[in-house]
């Protein structure tokens, strides 16, 4: 967790002020008719990209905001958003 993470409210901070909140998987699906398989896909299945992935973090020890950022999982470093998402 030595990496720096950029909080949209507080700016770049030590990674250990944050908690990881998982890959960005989009909004919660409607649940009434959700099959066990689809529920599993949303809650537990991950892409585990070897490269840049968009993910959620919370500034736990700071302002408390939840936000998404991009991280290169191969070097464990925050990276700028890829162009198509910028």
């Amino acid at each position: 967790m030595a990496l720096m993470i950029t909080c949209p409210v507080c700016g770049p901070r030590n990674g250990y002020e944050f908690r990881y909140g998982g890959e960005d998987k989009g909004p919660r699906p409607a649940q009434r008719e959700l099959s066990p398989g689809d529920w599993f896909q949303y809650v537990h299945a991950n892409d585990c990209a070897d490269g840049i992935q968009k993910e959620w973090w919370v500034h736990r020890d700071g302002c408390g905001v939840w936000f998404t950022t991009y991280r290169d999982t191969t070097v464990n470093r925050e990276v700028p958003p890829p162009e198509e998402d910028a």
Binding site: V9, C10, G11, R13, N14, E17, H59, R60, D61, G62, C63, V65
Partner: protein, 221 residues
């Protein structure tokens, strides 16, 4: 219930210094120490401000509110100091209001306001070597070159999440001053950690008067 028992009802600060009070006054149930014996004349000093009122303000349009008649700063991290009132913009929808001096009117009745004076403790650390004491307690860059005091930093001090306002910073040395709040329950641990970190620099507890004297030297925003 007799008047006697009622007058025996005292408010207790979460902060307690092992120093002999020199002068103190009764204010709304708080026994406020205005001066301790042996405060020293040079500083740095640590002052308990937990008795000063503090409000949390949250609203989708927090910019439109004027707590105590003062407008809320535009950007997260900015602070405004006016008439003894310090307003810290925390994020898009939230600001903190700290009453640093003077009498306080009651909190506005609007739903946006919550009285959080009891939720936190508030301390002020100021004088020479203040930033050297801070760097023993926190990895936060309070001496960063880009920002001008007063500004708000939300992050850990002594491993406890805090709202820290860098109120003053001398150029060329480590002097200055910070104010901060954290969960009230940490009172004793926090004071112990800060005084321990400051011992080598001569940090001492001081009464509220030191703070009141220092306050006018702060710039407003």
């Amino acid at each position: 219930m007799t008047t006697e028992t009622k007058s025996a009802i005292r408010r207790v600060s979460p902060v307690c210094f092992a120093a002999a009070p020199g002068e103190s006054e009764d204010r709304d149930g708080w026994q406020v120490v205005t001066r301790y014996e042996n405060e020293g004349e040079e500083g740095p000093w640590l002052v308990d401000l937990s008795h000063r009122p503090r409000w949390d303000v949250q609203d989708g349009h927090v910019d439109a509110l004027r707590p105590g008649g003062v407008s809320v700063p535009q950007e997260a991290g900015q602070c405004r100091l006016q008439d003894g009132l310090l307003i810290n913009r925390m994020n898009r929808t939230q600001a903190a209001v700290w009453h640093l001096a003077g009498a306080t009117d009651g909190m506005p009745a609007e739903a946006a306001y919550t009285d959080v004076g009891e939720a936190t403790l508030m301390l002020a650390l100021f004088g020479p070597q203040t930033l050297r004491i801070c760097e023993k307690l926190s990895a936060l860059d309070l001496a960063g070159l880009q920002r001008r005091p007063p500004f708000l930093v939300q992050g850990p001090l002594a491993h406890v999440p805090c709202q820290i306002v860098v109120a003053q910073r001398n150029s060329g040395d480590f002097g200055g001053g910070i104010l901060w709040t954290c969960s009230r329950g940490y009172g004793r641990s926090m004071v112990h950690a800060v005084l321990d970190a400051g011992r080598e620099f001569g940090l001492r507890p001081a009464g509220e008067q030191r703070f009141t004297d220092w306050l006018p030297s702060l710039s407003s925003d």
